[in-house]
Structures are given as structure tokens and as C-alpha cells.
């Protein structure tokens, strides 16, 4: 039994050795991915349902503390430390993230979901005064909106763990609206037009690995790179995948470089675990070294600064894998507690991201009534624009009439004053003549 298991696990290693012996590495030459590797990577697409819960932390390196502004670094570190769960099934996706804020604040919980019809975003803290009073309260808030009213490039789902482990999940709205499955990052790149630059073998911590170098032929829009001297260059990504044949070609290391070969990120994954019922292994631990950062004012232009050493490290530790099928309603967020603030933009008449605002009443029986009243108010507000047109025209006409009347008044007044002056002058002249 043990022997057969060993044989099963060692078989891919033997296979990759045979593949590599047969095909010695030829850098800078286009290569086809060996069928055995392709078949192993295709298996990711078969994962029907998966929920992964992980703990993520971020720590700044001495170089990061030197090169990155303190407030920006604080933001990176504090935003990069949380416990997150990401689940997907049949085109639906759900994310829950818990972040520990300042010591006196309660943990912040954020949930984002997509049930193939609507997007949902919820949070437990309602920052009434935001920066002004800095007093977050435990008032849940829920926002629902239609995908058509959001930007196709908008992305709300953070998938750091999956990125680090070389699994591509759709995160942008336009991707989520299509029929999708998880994909191996390498296959996703190739499907987008990327190409394999080289295939070879490598050894890492005593593991014999299958190495694939690929480049992305799809330059990301508006993306410019800046080196330490601050000069901008044409963007292009180079990927270095280190697959471990011992674990179904799971990724042990993934490096992303720019066109000049400068390292942007390096992910190292360990502690592989086979998903129950699937021939897929996923790592329990990932360490991501980040060598770039975008300044706050430069963020919109996406100009990144690149350094030879990492600026900060992201540590990801998986707490649990769950392959049970999640029911559909777990991908929907519903306001159940009284007092929840809801921004409901799920109605067909809503044209933007913001919709009908209401608060869930203490008596749940009154919820529909509250929604109906607020929805009527919303419709009244939307209709106001149409109703305001005649009023606007009326006031503009009245303005014109007022201006004309004023002008006439001034002219008449001046005319009268001049007339009086002439009469007075005439009288004076007559009197002088008489004298």
C-alpha cells in the first residue's frame, strides 16, 4: 500500500526527468508545454468548489523602511495583515476579510460576494465621521449593486494567496460575468497570448523542479515602470514558474520580472496538501517578497519604483481548505439584523452604484414597507431632473425679463434726470435773460 502510494507520487518525478532528458533546456526559444505538465495544470479548472481561509501578514524590510515613505509603508503593512476567506463555486465568489485595526478599535470585517447577478459588499464598521472624529461604530453596512452599473475593470476580490500559488481567479467584473473556472496561471497567460521562452529543470531546497520561463505579450494598459533612477520604460512581464512534479506540478516558486529582468515579486510556497477528492495540491505556506511600490501621488499613473532587494514581505499561512459544495445563498449577503444600513442599488430603475438607502427596522415585518417608501423617494428624486426643466426655463426667462426691466428703469431714470436738468437749465437761462 505504502509502496504503491510511493510509486504513484514518484511517477510524475520520473516522468519529468524523462521529459527533461528528452528535451534539454534551450533558452530564448519558443517551446511547447509537455503534455503531462499541461494535463496536470488543466486540473485546476476542474475544481468545482473551494474555500480557503488564510492568515496574511506583511512586514517591512530595512530597505523598505529606508525607501518608502513611512505613512505609505504603514498603510501597506496595516492593509496587508488580515485573516481572509475566499470561496468560489460555479461562477459565484465570496470573500470575507477580518482586519485588526488600532488597539482600541473592534476588528473590521468586510465581505464581498457575487452571485452571478448582483455584487454585495458588507462591513461591520460604519465610519460615521471618518477621519474627522475617528470613531468607528459597530453598525453593519450592506451595499448591493448591478454589475452593469459598475466599471468592467473594477476589481474588489483580493486573491493574494491564489496569486502566490500560481492559480488565476477572475477578479475584474468583466471576467466574473463570463463563465469561468480557476486556472493555472501559466495556462491563463498562454491563453492570453503569452509565450513560453524556455523550459528546463532546477533544483530548489533539494527538490527537483520543472522550470518554465514565459512572457506576457499582453502589456497592461497605462502601466509604466520606473527604475531607481526614475526613468520610464515600456512594460512587459516575464514569469519564472518552478513546478514541483512531486505535488502534481504545484508551484513552489513564482517570480515576476519586468522586461529588463528586474525582479518585481517572488513567491515561495511550501507545505503542499492535496485537496480532498481532487488531484490538485495547494501550498499551506507562501512567502511573497515584493520589490516594487507605487507612490501615493503616482498610483493613478501606475508608475512603480523597482529595487534589487525586497521592500516588504507578505507571509501567507492557510488555516483551512474546504472543498464542500457551498449552497448558492452563501454567495449572497442579506441584511438580517435591525439597524443595518443598506444601500440597495439592485433595482432595475437604478442607474448607478448608489441606490435606495434604508435602515433595517427593528420589526422585520416592516422591512418591505421601509424599502417601498425609500424606493418611492428615490424615484421621486430621479424624476426631479425631468420636472426641473420647465422650472429652469421659467427662471431663466424671468432672469432675462428682470435684466431688461432693470436696463429700462436705468435708462428712463437717466432720461428723466437729463430732462429735468435741461428744464432747470432752461429756466435758469430764462431768468438770467429776464434779469
Amino acid at each position: 500500500m505504502i509502496a504503491s502510494s510511493l510509486v504513484c507520487r514518484r511517477a510524475p518525478v520520473v516522468a519529468v526527468c524523462l521529459v527533461l532528458i528528452a528535451e534539454s533546456p534551450l533558452p530564448a526559444q519558443n517551446r511547447e508545454l509537455p503534455e503531462s505538465v499541461r494535463l496536470a495544470l488543466v486540473r485546476y479548472a476542474a475544481i468545482e468548489s473551494l474555500a480557503v481561509t488564510w492568515t496574511q501578514t506583511a512586514e517591512a524590510t530595512p530597505l523598505g523602511r529606508k525607501k518608502v515613505a513611512a505613512d505609505v509603508l504603514d498603510k501597506i503593512v496595516s492593509n496587508g495583515s488580515f485573516v481572509q476567506q475566499l470561496a468560489f463555486r460555479n461562477g459565484r465568489i465570496y470573500v470575507r476579510r477580518e482586519t485588526q485595526e488600532g488597539s482600541s478599535w473592534p476588528p473590521r470585517t468586510e465581505e464581498i460576494a457575487f452571485d452571478r447577478e448582483l455584487f454585495y459588499a458588507a462591513q461591520n464598521l460604519f465610519y460615521v465621521s471618518d477621519l474627522r472624529n475617528r470613531e468607528p461604530k459597530d453598525w453593519p453596512y450592506l451595499h448591493k449593486w448591478l454589475p452593469r452599473n459598475d466599471g468592467p475593470e473594477a476589481s474588489y476580490f483580493r486573491d493574494d494567496y491564489f496569486r502566490a500559488s500560481g492559480v488565476r481567479l477572475p477578479t475584474r467584473i468583466k471576467e466574473l460575468l463570463l463563465s469561468w473556472h480557476p486556472q493555472a496561471e501559466l495556462l491563463a497567460l498562454l491563453a492570453e497570448g503569452g509565450q513560453i521562452e524556455a523550459i528546463g529543470s532546477a533544483s530548489l531546497d533539494g527538490h527537483l523542479l520543472f522550470r518554465v520561463q514565459a512572457s506576457s505579450l499582453v502589456p497592461k494598459p497605462n502601466l509604466g515602470m520606473r527604475n531607481e533612477q526614475g526613468t520610464r520604460e515600456k512594460p512587459l512581464y516575464r514569469y519564472d514558474f518552478y513546478f514541483d512534479p512531486e505535488y502534481g506540478y504545484a508551484i513552489r516558486r513564482l517570480e515576476v520580472r519586468d522586461e529588463a529582468g528586474r525582479l518585481l515579486t517572488r513567491s515561495d510556497c511550501t507545505g503542499f496538501e492535496q485537496l480532498s477528492g481532487w488531484s490538485v495540491w495547494l501550498p499551506r505556506l507562501c512567502r511573497v517578497a515584493v520589490h516594487t511600490w507605487a507612490g501615493v501621488q503616482e498610483e493613478r499613473k501606475s508608475i512603480f519604483n523597482i529595487f534589487a532587494s525586497p521592500l516588504y514581505i507578505k507571509n501567507i499561512r492557510v488555516n483551512a481548505f474546504d472543498v464542500k459544495l457551498w449552497p448558492d445563498d452563501r454567495f449572497q449577503l442579506k441584511p438580517t439584523m435591525p439597524g443595518v444600513y443598506v444601500n440597495d442599488a439592485s433595482f432595475p430603475e437604478i442607474k448607478g452604484m448608489d441606490g435606495v438607502f434604508y435602515q433595517v427596522p427593528a420589526d422585520p415585518q416592516r422591512l418591505n414597507e421601509v424599502i417601498a417608501v425609500r424606493r418611492a423617494l428615490y424615484q421621486g428624486w430621479r424624476g426631479a431632473d425631468k420636472r426641473s426643466r420647465p422650472l429652469r426655463a421659467l427662471f431663466l426667462v424671468l432672469n432675462g425679463m428682470g435684466l431688461v426691466s432693470l436696463a429700462v428703469y436705468v435708462i428712463v431714470r437717466q432720461y428723466k434726470a437729463r430732462g429735468q436738468h435741461v428744464v432747470l437749465q432752461g429756466t435758469r437761462e430764462t431768468r438770467e435773460e429776464g434779469e
Partner: protein
């Protein structure tokens, strides 16, 4: 002989104390008895005086300025008021709310005294009743409750009155320009003092050449506060205009300049809000509806006062600028939000109200003031209990 209580100092202070008492009582009532629209954000009573923008000033006094192009930033709030609060905090060890409240109230008390002095010096001199009614109007008009909160309005009012007094008493040009400059460090509309200043220069200049020379010299001086703030922002954040740029995070964005101008010319921001809801939902306690009405009434009062010759040229110029600047710059974007507060500092409005109240039968004046006092207390209560009064 003038009774002790009708002298400017005592009369101003008396009216300040009485009318501020109404606001404090109203806030106390709101704190204890009015159900807040959501869970209370500040447990202490005195913290109720620093809601909404008052919180921003507190933040600046404690932590200084910050700017984030992606969200509302404290750079929108001018520095004089929080700076005075911060200085007081360091000198006395007071907390930010108490320090800012102290600044607010000292400025307001001084403003009442200056208003009384200014009224005594007006030509023709107002009778005693009109003078008292003017000060009472300044104390009990509903939006004046902001003077007693951690807001910069009372500091700005004090500077406006000092400016008007300087003109009335023919103070030297540099002094008046310096006061106007200080006002421009207090609130963005401080630059509105430029117009009455130019008028003053014009009247004091023997010829056009002298006017141009003096205007070129004193107009920049009258903006020194704004220029100093812009220089600080440039040094701190690399952009002198971030105080204006961060405004995009407050309110809506106009689709085009034409749309905005058409809306402003047709007074759309004033009446639009009433179309959003059926008349059955209109309410005198809904501050978003009070804002445009308050503004419109003030405009009408200034217009009528000017037409009837009850205001001098400086008062008209000052009122026009203080009403026009916020209307042209923010009324469309903010749906007239805060316009009642912006209007509260237009001192000439109180001159007109005072004169009309003095001419009305005493009973009618008393009821009018009583009604206004009721709303002053009511809005103080609603503000203190967390309702969106801003």
C-alpha cells in the same frame, strides 16, 4: 445718560450670554432627550459641540494637516481657527474640543461687543430698539448656533466686524488690509473682503492712478492669509491648491461648466431639493431644506435693504461677496448644503432684520424673535443629538 447695560460692551456681552445660553440648553435637551438617528458617536456632552466639520477642526488642531487625493482631506479647512485652538491647547493643556470651543466663544463674545460698537457708529445712528434687535437677531437667528460650536464662523464674524469697524472709523489702509488678510486665513470666503476694501481704497484715493497703485499694493496684502496657507500647502504637499482640489470629495461633480452655470442662473440649487420629495415630506426641521430657504431669504433681505438705502456701499459689497462666492463655487456641487451656515456670517443681513423688527408692532417682533429662538434651540438639540445639521 446711557444705562450701563446699553453700553456696547455690556449690551454685547449680555446678549451673547443670553443667546448662547439658549444654544447650550437646546444642545443639552438634545443630548438627554432626543433619540439620535443612530447610536451616539460621542458620549460626552461637550463633544456634541464638535460634530461634522467641527470634528475636522479638532483633527487639524491635534494632528495637523493631511492630504490624500483619493478622499476628503483636512486641507479643505482653513488654518486660522484650528491654529488658535492648537495654540490654546499648548498654552493651557486643554483638550481640542474645549480649546476650540473657548476660541469660538471668546471670538463670538468679542464679535457681539464689536457689533454693538459698530452699530453705535453707523450713520444715521440707529435708535436703541433697532440696535438691540440687530444684536438679538445676530444671537437668535437659527443658523447662528454654529457660532457656538467648534466651527470657524465666529472667528470669521469677528474679523468681518473688525474690518467694517476699521472702514467706519477710517483706519489706515494697511491695518484694514491686514485684517482682511487674516480673514482670508480663516475661511475661503475671506477673499470676499477684497471688494469692500477696493471700494474703500477708491474712495480714499485722490485719482485713478493713486487708486491703481494702492490697489496693487494692498490687494495682495488683503489675501496674505490665503497666500500663506497656499505656500504652506505647497511646502507640505507639493501643491498650493489642494485646499480647493479636495473639494471634489464633497458633493456631486457638475457634468459641465455650462450645466452648472445654467443651474446657477436659474437658481436650481435653491428649489431643486423640494422636487426630490413630495410636499408632504417637506419639513421646517429638515436642515437640507432649511439651507436654501435661509439663503434665499438672506439674499432678498440684502437686496431690499440695498434698494431702500438701509445699507452703505461697503456693507452691500461685503454681503454680495459673502453670498455670491459660496453660491457660485459650491451651491451646485453641494445642493446648497451648509449655505445657512455660510449665510450666518453675512452681518448686513442682521442690520436689515434689526431695522424691520424695530418698525414692526412690539408684539409681532417679540413673536418673530420667539419663533427664531425656538428654532435656534431646536436645531441646537438636533445637532447635538447627531442629526445631519450642517
Amino acid at each position: 445718560m446711557m444705562a450701563w447695560w446699553s453700553k456696547p460692551l455690556s449690551l454685547g456681552l449680555l446678549i451673547y450670554i443670553w443667546t448662547s445660553g439658549i444654544v447650550i440648553l437646546g444642545a443639552s435637551f438634545g443630548h438627554q432627550f432626543v433619540t439620535p438617528p443612530r447610536a451616539a458617536s460621542a458620549p460626552n456632552f461637550y463633544e456634541k459641540f464638535s460634530a461634522y466639520d467641527g470634528g475636522w477642526y479638532k483633527w487639524i488642531a491635534v494632528s495637523g494637516y493631511h492630504y490624500d487625493p483619493g478622499q476628503q482631506s483636512s486641507t479643505a479647512f482653513f488654518p486660522l481657527f484650528p491654529l488658535l485652538g492648537a495654540v490654546l491647547m499648548r498654552l493651557t493643556g486643554l483638550g481640542p474640543t474645549w480649546a476650540l470651543l473657548l476660541v469660538s466663544h471668546v471670538c463670538l463674545a468679542a464679535a457681539f461687543v464689536l457689533a454693538a460698537v459698530y452699530l453705535h457708529g453707523r450713520r444715521p445712528p440707529p435708535d436703541r430698539t433697532a440696535l438691540s434687535f440687530t444684536l438679538l437677531a445676530l444671537g437668535v437667528m437659527p443658523a447662528t448656533f454654529f457660532f457656538r460650536m467648534t466651527y470657524s464662523e465666529s472667528t470669521f464674524l469677528l474679523l468681518i466686524l473688525l474690518f467694517l469697524l476699521g472702514i467706519q472709523r477710517n483706519w489706515p489702509l494697511p491695518t484694514i488690509a491686514l485684517i482682511a488678510g487674516l480673514a482670508s486665513a480663516c475661511r475661503p470666503v475671506g477673499v470676499g473682503l477684497l471688494l469692500p476694501l477696493l471700494l474703500y481704497i477708491w474712495r480714499r484715493s485722490p485719482d485713478r492712478r493713486a487708486f491703481l497703485l494702492r490697489a496693487a499694493l494692498f490687494a495682495p496684502l488683503a489675501c496674505w492669509g490665503l497666500l500663506a496657507y497656499a505656500a504652506f500647502l505647497y511646502l507640505q504637499f507639493g501643491d498650493p491648491l489642494v485646499f480647493a482640489k479636495t473639494q471634489v470629495h464633497w458633493g456631486r461633480t457638475a457634468p459641465s461648466l455650462t450645466t452648472k452655470m445654467l443651474a446657477l442662473l436659474s437658481y436650481q440649487p435653491i428649489w431643486e431639493i423640494f422636487l426630490w420629495q413630495p410636499p408632504a415630506n417637506w419639513s421646517v426641521f429638515a436642515w437640507e431644506q432649511v439651507n436654501p430657504v435661509y439663503f434665499a431669504i438672506s439674499v432678498v433681505l440684502i437686496f431690499v435693504g440695498a434698494w431702500q438705502g438701509r445699507l452703505n456701499a461697503y456693507e452691500i459689497a461685503l454681503a454680495a461677496m459673502l453670498l455670491l462666492i459660496p453660491y457660485l463655487t459650491r451651491a451646485y456641487e453641494m445642493n446648497m448644503a451648509s449655505s445657512a451656515r455660510f449665510t450666518a456670517v453675512v452681518f448686513p443681513v442682521y442690520l436689515i432684520i434689526g431695522e424691520y423688527l424695530a418698525r414692526l408692532p412690539p408684539a409681532v417682533s417679540a413673536v418673530t424673535l420667539g419663533l427664531s429662538t425656538f428654532f435656534l434651540g431646536a436645531f441646537s438639540a438636533l445637532f447635538a443629538s447627531g442629526y445631519p445639521i450642517f
